[in-house]
């Protein structure tokens, strides 16, 4: 069961809203699919992205996967710790494994994201 306090994308990112901002990471399902994460590429603070744009990439031993921003936002903080410890994404995808914090540029877009229940339903269908 995915955490209730987050919103989710079909590309397996999560968004944790706090005031005008939000933290972004990838879901437990995503980290499990990827396997051992060895490298992450994240944007610079100040970069603006439209909803659904690629904001970075994450690489496991076997594959590379693009990261898509759940809603339009400006990067206000990057989790620099992941540079030397990308395995935190595997170990704690919803906590220490967070990737960026953004300032939301259009709060209405959160309506397009899935709740935890919807996301769990979505991943269970994807498996079949």
């Amino acid at each position: 069961m995915s955490p209730d306090d987050l919103l989710y994308t079909k590309e397996h990112e999560w968004l944790r809203i706090a005031g005008d901002g939000g933290a972004v990471g990838i879901t437990d399902h995503a980290q499990e699919e990827l396997g051992d994460i060895v490298y992450i590429e994240l944007p610079k603070v100040g970069t603006k992205f439209d909803s659904g744009e690629t904001f970075g990439s994450v690489e496991s031993v076997k594959a590379v996967s693009e990261l898509y921003i759940p809603v339009s936002g400006e990067v206000i903080e990057v989790n620099e710790e992941l540079g030397s410890a990308p395995e935190r994404i595997n170990d704690d995808p919803y906590g220490n494994g967070w990737m960026i914090r953004i300032r939301l540029l259009n709060k209405n877009e959160t309506a397009d994201l899935m709740s935890a229940a919807e996301y769990d339903e979505y991943t269970s269908q994807e498996k079949e």
Binding site: G35, D36, V38, Y39, S57, E59, S60, V61, K62, A63, V64
Partner: protein, 369 residues
Amino acid sequence: MSAYKRTPLHAVHKALGARLVPFGGWEMPVEYSGIAKEHVAVRTAAGLFDVSHMGEFEIRGPEALDLIQFVTTNDASKLVDGQAQYSALAYPHGTVVDDLLIYRHNAEHFMLVVNAANIGKDLEWITSHNRSDASIENISDEITLIAVQGPKARDILQPLTNVGLTGIEYYYFAQARVCNVDAIVSRTGYTGEDGFELYFSAKHSEPVWNGLLEVGTPRGLLPAGLGARNTLRLEARMLLYGNDMDGTTTLLEAGLGSIVKFEKEEFIGRDALSKQKQEGVKRRLIGFEMLGREIARDHYPVLVDGREAGHVTSGSPSITLKKNIGLAYLPADRAAIGATFQVQVRNKLSEAKIVRTPFYKRKEGHESR
């Protein structure tokens, strides 16, 4: 119904929680506990691999050696009973039909072990060049192939078999009992470690697998999937057909000149390869490491002097060396050790340096193939 073939150990893999993926027409375990963990287990203790997707052909009869000598590039006449050899099937222009292992049971009985995705193609190729009517039988579906690889492989296998394993040299094999089942015990592998490959009747798959797992687990053995198999073989610079060589690259370009024996009698590909050897290859498969943190992946373009010169044939993080490594074809005049070039990693160009291979060589024991 799955469109993919399954090995006789499919249910066992599922029960072990393996992630199963399509590979060469098969549904195969790519990982169980994680590629990195499995990789480290093979380098430090042992790993257990189901590679039953590989194909096996039996070649029999007085003309068996003659056929093998004609279709393969290495010299199988040098084999003695109980010895194995790494070799290749070549096209007339010297490119690669497949790479394979040849096992000599006796002068009139050999076994060829070929890549899973090439079973049909190889069978047709060998059959169509069977000038002297040797008997060719595809026994792939009847054979289970399990590999036990790693520094502890011998200690794990020894209590389960009636053959003295120290007596089997690298690239030799014995007919023996393993877990009370008839098996070929071959000191070969695709990981760069010491280890054994066991060929036996598919109907005994589970008892043998479980027997090895039971004895091996307390000694650090882990079931290992194709993911770790790939990172292990790349560190040891063992080539993967379809990536590092295929019908568009010659054996000499791939650096496999040591398995092309010009001094033996006529074989398919000899003239073209002989000519290429005299003239020199125009491109060469080299090993490289990335100078930055980016990871080169299969098929990424490589650039020399800013111009596209080829592509990465295999690229991955090296778990043992903690570097990002790979193989690529480069123009022969730019393929010197220490030379640099660029790899296009998605939207950016990253520097890479040509290094000596194998990237990883085990410290003791037997030489690598």
